[in-house]
């Protein structure tokens, strides 16, 4: 009985007020609400017009994403029967395969103070190759489940340690083209905790085949904890640095951290 009454609707108290008081209070409340509505609209639209409010929300959302990240939380993996088609979503033109034979990966910002230049054969023979079937999520809203293979970014970081104060990696592709087929270098910022995640790969294979040109042959980033736009194709240079590097899509109004 007592339990029932806790959920039972209570009678609202009826109050008798003088008509004058009632009119005065109603008028006051209307004015307060009207002024507030006007204020909210004026402030909201002017802030929005300057992009201030939305930009603050974008930064706040990046902080939330970074707080949600845990180096120990693994990305869900799938079986081969769950693999779906992954489309080539190169923003510009897909480059021709001519670059692959001369392709090399350059590493900068290393603790040794030297620059390192690797070819794909060296990279694959010196490091263990790992497989994983994970979901790839695009900022546009679509997703695909794909089977990737490659070396762990973490293994590369251990083999060629960055300078001690480094917190960021700048990954760059000089191969990238714009919509008219002109060179349009692509670059992303990756925080080192993400680079060290056990499922962050420098991928060389997709669905059991060496990467096609459309998917970033011969080496692309596969960081399943990030949106697809961070997963840069045809990486040509990795630079470790202390300060946050620029990011291709962040310069075009998207968020910088892109953790999912």
């Amino acid at each position: 009985m007592k339990r029932d009454s806790a959920f039972k609707e209570r009678p609202a108290g009826i109050v008798d007020v003088a008509p004058e008081t009632w009119r005065r209070r109603s008028r006051r409340d209307f004015l307060v609400f009207g002024a507030s509505a006007f204020g909210v609209l004026a402030v909201g639209s002017s802030w929005h017009h300057q992009g201030w409010l939305a930009n603050m929300a974008l930064r706040f959302d990046d902080d939330v994403a970074e707080a949600l990240y845990s180096p120990n939380r693994l990305v869900p993996t799938y079986t081969k029967s769950q693999i779906t088609l992954l489309k080539n979503n190169y923003n510009g033109a897909t480059p021709g395969p001519g670059y692959i034979s001369a392709w090399r990966l350059t590493l900068d910002g290393l603790s040794s103070g030297l620059g390192v230049s690797l070819d794909i054969h060296t990279l694959l023979t010196r490091h263990q190759v790992h497989d994983q079937i994970t979901r790839f999520v695009c900022v546009e809203g679509w997703s695909a489940i794909a089977w990737w293979a490659g070396v762990k970014f973490d293994d590369l970081l251990n083999a060629y340690p960055p300078v001690s104060e480094a917190k960021w990696a700048r990954l760059e592709s000089s191969i990238n083209l714009d919509g008219y087929g002109r060179p349009d270098p692509y670059f992303v910022s990756i925080d080192l905790p993400t680079a060290r995640h056990p499922q962050t790969l420098l991928a060389t294979h997709l669905n059991g085949q060496p990467l096609a040109v459309g998917h970033g042959a011969p080496l692309r980033l596969l960081a399943p904890v990030k949106l697809g736009l961070k997963n840069i194709k045809a990486i040509t240079r990795i630079t470790y640095m202390r300060d946050e590097p620029k990011d291709y899509w962040a310069e075009r109004g998207y968020s910088r951290y892109d953790g999912i």
Binding site: R10, V17, P19, Y69, E140, W142, Y254
Partner: protein
């Protein structure tokens, strides 16, 4: 949605003193101030979420078919735009027929980055607003009036039939009496307000499921995975749209007291409220 179509409010209470009675207005507390503030703030927030949400949808439409050989369109919203432009009178601007729907209901096509910024901005404020609404309900105890009851299944159907019949009654100029009501809301209102609150909660949960499908992958899994959580999120928008239309019509049909109640917090309809000193 609101009650009382034909019931008037109570006249000022008479007292039993032989001298001229002091005129008095009987009023009853209707909505807590936090409930009222969150009720009005949700309007611009939902509007911002919908116009940005449709721009986000444009970037990767869920409902697609094989490209139409004539129009090249593979998106049903684009088809609808083409259809509308074909039926608009001369003189209307139909430069981009495939984008007509997006141009008229959203920030527009190719606006993904600004749309995402606006969507996050409104989404965080939407969640804060929801907490404010809950706080108002809890502080005032008004949450009890919103809980659906077992008998509401029949009661809600009766109210729906009454509202549907009222449209005809107005056309035939016949007076109509509302079903008797002894609670703050009628059964259909309870069902609608309760469901739309649950829809808000689901919109937030599916939103997080598609925003952070890796870090909160368990949440995406509840809705059947990332792709199907997107479908949920899309249809929840339609629930809000479908709620708002009868909600606004019925508030205006129901009269001034209902609208004033959401502004000032007080109502002069005291029939369905008990006297404070009565038990």
């Amino acid at each position: 949605m609101a009650p009382h179509f034909t019931q008037g409010h109570k006249e000022p209470m008479a007292t039993f003193t032989p001298a001229a009675p002091p005129p008095c207005v009987s009023v009853v507390r209707r909505h807590h101030v936090l409930v009222r503030v969150s009720h009005w703030l949700i309007i611009p927030l939902l509007l911002g979420l919908i116009v940005s949400g449709i721009s986000i949808y444009w970037a990767s439409p869920i409902y697609r078919h094989n490209p139409d050989p004539q129009t090249g369109s593979a998106d049903y919203f684009a088809d609808a735009g083409i259809w509308i432009c074909a039926h608009l009178p001369e003189g209307h601007d139909c430069a981009s027929r495939r984008d007509w729907i997006y141009n008229h209901t959203s920030l527009g096509p190719s606006m993904l980055a600004p749309a995402l910024r606006l969507h996050w901005c409104c989404a965080y404020l939407f969640m804060l607003n929801g907490l404010m609404y809950l706080a108002g309900l809890l502080l005032s105890g008004e949450w009890r009036a919103l809980l659906p009851r077992v008998s509401d299944a029949v009661g809600a159907a009766k109210m729906a039939a009454y509202y549907a019949g009222t449209a005809f009654a107005i056309l035939q100029r016949q007076p109509r009496k509302a079903p008797r009501q002894s609670t703050k809301y009628n059964p259909l209102q309870r069902l609608a307000y309760f469901s739309v609150s649950i829809a808000c909660l689901l919109a937030v949960l599916t939103g997080w499921a598609i925003h952070k499908p890796i870090q909160v992958s368990w949440l995406a899994a509840i809705f059947g995975g990332f792709d199907s959580a997107r479908v949920w999120h899309f249809w929840l928008m339609w629930i809000f749209v479908l709620f708002v239309i009868p909600h606004v019509i019925l508030v205006f049909a129901d009269g001034w007291d209902t609208l004033r109640g959401m502004l000032t917090g007080w109502s002069r309809r005291v029939e369905s409220a008990g006297r404070a000193n009565e038990t």
